[in-house]
């Protein structure tokens, strides 16, 4: 089988070495709900089994990663064990991990805190009002935490939101900026350049290093953005949670 056809989806899930001390399991070549569910479920299964020599188990949107002690673990035996576990069931059919929460997060849509709402809406082929109603009020899943500390990737938006990244980088998105591309949203946890378009701003700080629990959101949590006006946002800026409230999902 040629490399190109494997890349196009055959041989999924696929296991690869990542560096000398890591293994990567991919459940897809593109983001999808079942692949995300599978990546989350495999991660939890490996954590539950607590394999000796495994130092870290985590994942991204459609993949699970484990890091091991390369100097003291038989890497080939570990890989064989992982292959057995991966082959043992259909991971996309597994339930989501327990203890998930739903977060209601106030967000300002429109005005200068939402500088690219119109542009993003146009790319998605909807009016700005329609864009807000499609993003706000929808239960979005934290598909992964990554890129920056505590930063959630949220999805999945309807197919017409498969809009590209912009070619030029926005030099600086502030903490709390809600940006969109490729059917996903991410909420900035550190101020950083971005190629995604900013459609809203929240007062939530997803990473609070001075707190006992610095990371606010967890993979599998759900988030609903609730539109508020600028005055409310300004008032909420004194609160690191930005007015967000969480409830444990049944």
């Amino acid at each position: 089988m040629g490399q190109a056809s494997r890349h196009s989806g055959a041989g999924i899930p696929r296991i690869d070495w990542l560096g000398l001390d890591g293994l990567l399991v991919r459940f897809g070549d593109a983001l999808s709900e079942p692949a995300n569910r599978a990546a989350l479920a495999l991660r939890h299964a490996i954590l539950r089994e607590d394999w000796p020599g495994v130092e870290e188990v985590t994942g991204a949107l459609v993949s699970t990663y484990l890091r091991f002690d390369a100097l003291h673990v038989d890497a080939d035996a570990l890989r064989a064990r992982l292959e057995d576990l991966v082959a043992s069931r259909d991971w996309s059919g597994e339930p989501l991990p327990g203890g998930r929460r739903i977060w209601r997060v106030p967000a300002v849509f429109g005005g200068d805190l939402s500088p690219q709402l119109a542009e993003a809406a146009a790319l998605a082929g909807v009016s700005p009002e329609q864009a807000v109603s499609e993003i706000a009020g929808k239960r979005l899943r934290v598909q992964t935490i990554g890129f920056a500390p505590g930063q959630p990737y949220l999805g999945e938006l309807p197919a017409h939101w498969d809009i590209p990244r912009q070619t030029e980088l926005t030099p600086r998105a502030e903490v709390g900026a809600l940006v969109v591309a490729i059917r996903q949203l991410t909420l900035f946890s550190t101020a950083a350049p971005t190629g995604w378009r900013q459609v809203a701003r929240t007062a939530l700080r997803p990473f609070q290093p001075d707190r006992a629990e610095p990371f606010v959101l967890r993979p599998g949590d759900e988030v609903v953005f609730e539109p508020v006006d600028r005055e409310v946002f300004e008032r909420l800026q004194g609160d690191p949670q930005g007015g967000a409230v969480a409830e444990v999902l049944p």
Binding site: Q3, A4, H7, D16, W17, L18, G19, L20, D21, G22, L24, R26, G28, D29, A30, L31, R43, E55, E56, V57, T58, G59, A60, L61, V62, S63, Y65, R67, A70, L71, A75, T144, I145, G146, F147, A148, P149, G150, Q151, Y153, S189, T190, F207, P209, D210, P214, F215, P219
Partner: protein, 334 residues
């Protein structure tokens, strides 16, 4: 009063660093920690203390520091011009700094990151289990003039000791293993990649550095369509312009650029310490060779204490000769 080092003049990119915070990738936080992990181990060996203590990392330029109480110090990593009260100090060595004396550390002579360690390590607030700054994550900050860095409890020990320098400050060959996207590059491009001479781009920081090829760039068959996945320090990303970028200790935790391979952990300090313009080449090794190389590097780190020798200096230059007789003379400061 507890022992401390006061920053009298801060270089532009000095921060406290230790081995970092492994295990938080799932929270979006890369390990961070010293850009040159070997230099941390060298400082620990020279001072006869644990390798998890925090030291000052100085990128390109040092600063001026005043001792509060007597301090044992060690200078490791990229050699920098150093002096104590105007008298030159040897790099890669330990020295005694008396209360009130001023230590000056100037620009780097080769390499990028120099380290200043103290007996007992630098104290400071722990965030997520470590004291080091993770600048891209917003943990800690660069050091500023006027900062007072208190020292931990010093076990005490001899000064005037040194370690033979291990040259990792001028680029060279970096060994790498294949990764999840290596096969997305053509065999011809992989061969050309190994034959290419790269120059370290002047842009670069603790997150990563660009390797400018002496010929054409590199393109994967996947283009830029890869869904984001975990990335790790040592990964060689091929960005949109075809120029490889080597990820370093403060890299992001996920990324979607194709990675042609991953540099071995033991060669990462050589990458980080390569100054702008330094020539580098990448050589792929198989997993068995990579493991053998990594084992040898780990053994070399364990063997550091046995390689320590006395600093040999012309006694006529040694205004502070008596201080070199000092054994366990530094108090714990408690």
């Amino acid at each position: 009063m507890s022992r401390a080092l006061v920053v009298r003049r801060a270089g532009p990119a000095m921060s406290l660093q230790d081995p970092g915070r492994p295990g938080l990738l799932g929270q979006g936080l890369s390990r961070g920690g010293a850009a040159d992990a070997r230099a941390l181990a060298e400082g620990a060996a020279l001072l006869g203390q644990g390798g998890d203590l925090a030291a000052i990392e100085m990128a390109g330029m040092g600063g001026a520091f005043e001792a509060v109480g007597d301090l044992r110090i060690a200078l490791t990593g990229a050699p920098m011009r150093a002096s104590l009260e105007g008298a030159p100090l040897a790099w890669g060595a330990t020295h005694l700094v008396r209360a009130g004396q001023v230590l000056e550390i100037g620009p780097v002579l080769s390499g990028v990151y120099g380290y200043l360690h103290v007996g007992g390590g630098f104290d400071g607030p722990e965030v997520l289990g470590a004291r080091g700054a993770h600048l891209s994550a917003g943990i800690g900050r660069v050091l500023a003039t006027g900062d007072r860095l208190s020292a931990g409890v010093d076990p005490g020990g001899e000064v005037g000791l040194c370690l033979p320098p291990e040259d990792r400050f001028a680029g060279g060959v970096l060994r790498a293993v294949h990764g999840p996207q290596t096969a997305m590059f053509s065999p011809e491009d992989l061969e050309r990649f190994e034959a290419t001479r790269f120059a370290r781009d002047a842009r670069g920081n603790r997150m990563g550095l660009r390797l400018v090829p002496d010929g054409a760039g590199f393109q994967s068959r996947a283009g830029l369509s890869i869904v984001s996945e975990i990335v790790v320090p040592g990964d060689i990303q091929i960005t949109g312009d075809g120029v490889p970028m080597v990820l370093l200790t403060e890299c992001q935790t996920t990324g979607g650029y194709p990675r042609i391979g991953t540099i071995l952990p033991c060669d990462l300090a050589r990458a980080a310490q390569a100054p702008a313009g330094a020539e580098m080449r990448i050589r792929f090794v198989d997993r068995a060779e990579a493991l053998a190389v990594e084992r040898k590097a780990a053994e070399a780190l364990r063997a550091l204490p046995g390689r320590i020798t006395r600093l040999v200096r012309d006694p006529w230059d040694m205004r502070d000769l008596l201080s070199y007789q000092l054994i366990s003379g530094v108090t714990a400061g408690e």
